[in-house]
Subunit: 314 residues, 2 copies
Amino acid sequence: MIDIDQLLQGNPRSVARAITLVEAGGPKAAALMREIFPRTGNATVIGVTGSPGAGKSSLVDKLALYYKNEGLRVGIVCIDPSSPFSGGAILGDRIRMSTLGLDKNVFIRSMATRGNLGGLSRSTVDAVAILDAAGFDKVIVETVGVGQDEVEVVKTADVSIVVLVPGMGDDIQAIKAGIMEIGDVFVINKADREGVLRTQKELEALLSLAHRPDMWNPPIVRTIATENKGIEDLAAAIEKYVNYTAMADGETIATRKEAIAQWRLLELLRERLLADLLERNGTNKELERLSAEVAAKRIDPYSVVEELVSRKRQ
Amino acid sequence: MIDIDQLLQGNPRSVARAITLVEAGGPKAAALMREIFPRTGNATVIGVTGSPGAGKSSLVDKLALYYKNEGLRVGIVCIDPSSPFSGGAILGDRIRMSTLGLDKNVFIRSMATRGNLGGLSRSTVDAVAILDAAGFDKVIVETVGVGQDEVEVVKTADVSIVVLVPGMGDDIQAIKAGIMEIGDVFVINKADREGVLRTQKELEALLSLAHRPDMWNPPIVRTIATENKGIEDLAAAIEKYVNYTAMADGETIATRKEAIAQWRLLELLRERLLADLLERNGTNKELERLSAEVAAKRIDPYSVVEELVSRKRQ
C-alpha cells in the first residue's frame, strides 16, 4: 500500500499516507515502522513546547523557513490534543503550508487522536521517525499545552525548546518548575512586550538552581517571531546544544536515549495489550454493556477489569 | 491498613492515606476502590481547566471558600503533570490549606505521577471517588495545562468549567476550539484587564456555533478571583447546570455517564495489563536491557513488543 522506496525518497504523498497509517495504529503500522527503523537517526529532532499563547506556531514557522532558506528539508509535526476530531487542525496546516511555501522541502502535519485507543504520543513519535527516514534534515515537534504526554514527546527530541512570554501571571512558576527540567534552550518570545526583563531574571534564577546531569547551561534566546527577530540566534543555540551533546561523554547521552526507548516501549506495550484484549473473546462488543453497568453503579470498574483480565488468561 | 469507617466519616488522615494508596496503584488500591464504590455518587464533582496563567488556583480557592462559608465540605484535587516529582506541589498545598483554613471541611491534594506506570488520570478519578465516599459535598478537580489526559479527567466531572483570561494571544483560538466542547460554564477571570469585551465576544461567537446534545447554553461568568468578585455568580451558574442535568432527559445523561465509564475502564485495563506483563517472566528486569538495545538501534521497539507479547501468551 505504501511505497517504501518513495517514502525513503521523501515523496510527500507517501509520507502523508505513512503518517495516516501510524495514526490508525495496528499491525500494518507496526510492520511499516519495523521496516523504516534502520533508516532513522539522521535528522535533528527539535521539540518545541510552552504555554498556550506563547506564539509557538509563529516561532516554528519562522524557524522552519530559516532552515529552508539554508537549503535544508524541514518536517513539522504538531500535537494539538485539544482538538481531537475537528477539521480546524487540517485547515490550519493548509494555511501554514501556504505561508511556508508548499514544496518538497517542507512538510507539515497535525496529529489527531482517532478514537479512544489512539495513543497520540506513540503516533507522534512514529510520525517523527517517518520524516526522519524520509530524509528530512530537521524535524520540529510542536506541542500545544503542557500535559504529561506532551512533555514526554518533547523529551524524545534531540533538543528541547521551551517558549515563554513576558508577564504570564501566577501559574507561570508552576510551569517553569516542571518544564525547566526538559528545556535545553529557552525562548522568550514576544520580547518587545513589557516585563521581558523580569521574566528573564526569574528564568535565570530558576535555571541557576537546576543541576543538569550533562552540565549544559541552557541559553535564553529572545525572539519576536512575528517580525522574524531572533530566529538566527535560536538556530545557533540549537546547533550549539546539538554539537555539545555530540561531544559530551557517551554515558550521559546513552542514559537519555535509553530512558526515551523505555518510555516508547511502555507506550507501545500499553496500546498493544489493550488492543489484543479487546479483540479477543468479543470483549470489544461487550465494552458498551459493561460501561453501562458501571455507569449505573451496578458493578464497579475494578471488578470489571478483574473479570476481563482473568478471562483473558484462560 | 486504611480504616474504611474512618474514611467514610471523612477523617482527613484516612482520606490522605487512601489517596496515597491509589496513587501507587496495585491490588490494594483496587480492593479499596471496590469497597468504597457503592458509597460514591453523592458529591457534585466540579472540573476546572483552562490556560496556564488564567488564575485557576485563586479561582478554585475562592470557590471552595464560598462553599465552606455555606456550611458545605469541599475537597480539591489538583493535577499538575508538569511537576512530577517535586516537593513544590506539596508546599503549594500547605500554603493553600492555610489560606482556606485547615479544618475537617476542606481537603486539598495535588496528584503526582509516581514513576513510569502511574496513570495520573486514573489515580485522579480514584481520588475524586474517595472524597465523594468520604462525604465531601463538592469535589473540585483542578488541572494545570490542557493535555489530552487532563481534558478526559475534566470530562468525568458533573460540571466542567473552562477558565479564560482577556487577551491571551494567537493560540487561544486553538484552545477554545478544543475545550469549547467540554465547557458547561465559561469563566473570564481577571475581568478587570484590557480586552475583556473582545474575549467575551469571541467566546460568544464560538459558542454560538456549538451544537450540544443536551441543548444547554453555556453561560459566561466574569470574575476577579483575587478580589473575590463574581464567585457567587459562578456558584450560581454551576448550580443551574447541575439542576438542568438533573431535569434533563435521562438518555443524554446516561450516554455521558457511559462514555465516562468506558474511558475509565480502558484506562484501568491499560494500566493493569502492562503491570501484569511486566511482573511475569521477569520482564520488568529485562526492560532496561531491551531499552538499551532499542536505544542502540540493534532492534526496533515494535519487534521487542511483538516478542514480549507473544512470549506472554505461552
